[in-house]
Amino acid sequence: MKMRITLIVSLFLSLLLANVVLAQQSYNYEEMTQEQYNALLAEWQKRLDAAKKGIAEEEAKIEQLKKEYDNLQAQIDQTWNEIFTLAGQNKEQYDAYNSKLSQLRDDARAFLNLSPEEIYSKSNELDSLQAKLDKCKQNPFSAMSGPSALINEIQSLIDQAKEKAKTAVPPTYTVMKGDYLWKIAGKDDIYGNPHAWWRIYTSNLDQIKNPDLIYPNQVLAIPRAIGPNEHLVQKGEFLSKIAGYPNVYGDSFKWQKLYEANKSFITDPNLIYPYQVLKIAR
């Protein structure tokens, strides 16, 4: 039995070996004539020679291109040096300038992602961003295509943010006969809360001297968002508490400064009311 298996395996391996040997040969040499052999050999020799010639040509072209590339790189380096000389700055300053522009672009993008109300309430920060960009425009590098494109992009983002904030700019209400602040504040399309009359009053101090006296056809601002340097009084707040907020003065002892800025409607510094809009003097 073992002999049989050994014989079969040997036979199989022999066949496999024969196949491998035959597969290595591309042609059926048994059937080949001498003319066919010579023609095939000549054809392969021709292809080999052509390929070798082509390789040599390609290598020469590559060498030429490498030289051209190095030459161009040298010219580029030279031009950069000339630009730095013209601008009176160096590469590190150029890189720092680009980093600053990238940072400004990120800031502008972040602004654009805010809601109109948020942008409106941070409009002073947006103005500061615009001022930084204007300063960047004074740099000679701003005339270069890369920074110039970045500046245009940032300017566009700032403009878009400003446009977006416009939708949060206080709408207005025209006073009709029989209106009073309590009534106006209670309207559903105004604040829906009569107690918010303080907000209308403190936002229109320029035209309301006495909150009990408003006149037909008076156009009152109805702010929807808190503007920069403003604080909307919440229940439970008092001047020193508000003055202590980091976004106000960060120092509760500065409550007097807050009081002074809003003296026109705060008669007693110990008595402020929810919905009053306080100006934060800087």
Binding site: S26, Q34, Y37, I62, I76, W80, M144
Partner: protein, 87 residues
Amino acid sequence: MRKFKIVMIGLASIAMLSLSSCKWKPSEEQIKTLEETKAAALSAEKTLAEKKAERQEWEKKVAAKKAELQKLQNDKQNVENFQKAAE
């Protein structure tokens, strides 16, 4: 007649044997030469294709550098104009 038949068969057998044994066949050395030439040609053609691709790659790199230089020269001119306007 029978003799003739035997002779004819004998001659035919000899002819067939001589024909089959005299047919040309490439030697081992010739087979090796053809196979090696073919392998070398195919390998060289592959190398040529790679070299062509490499050359095209370098052509692209050179074109990009040319564009970079042109852009930089324009930038230089712009910086020069900017400085002149600032003065």
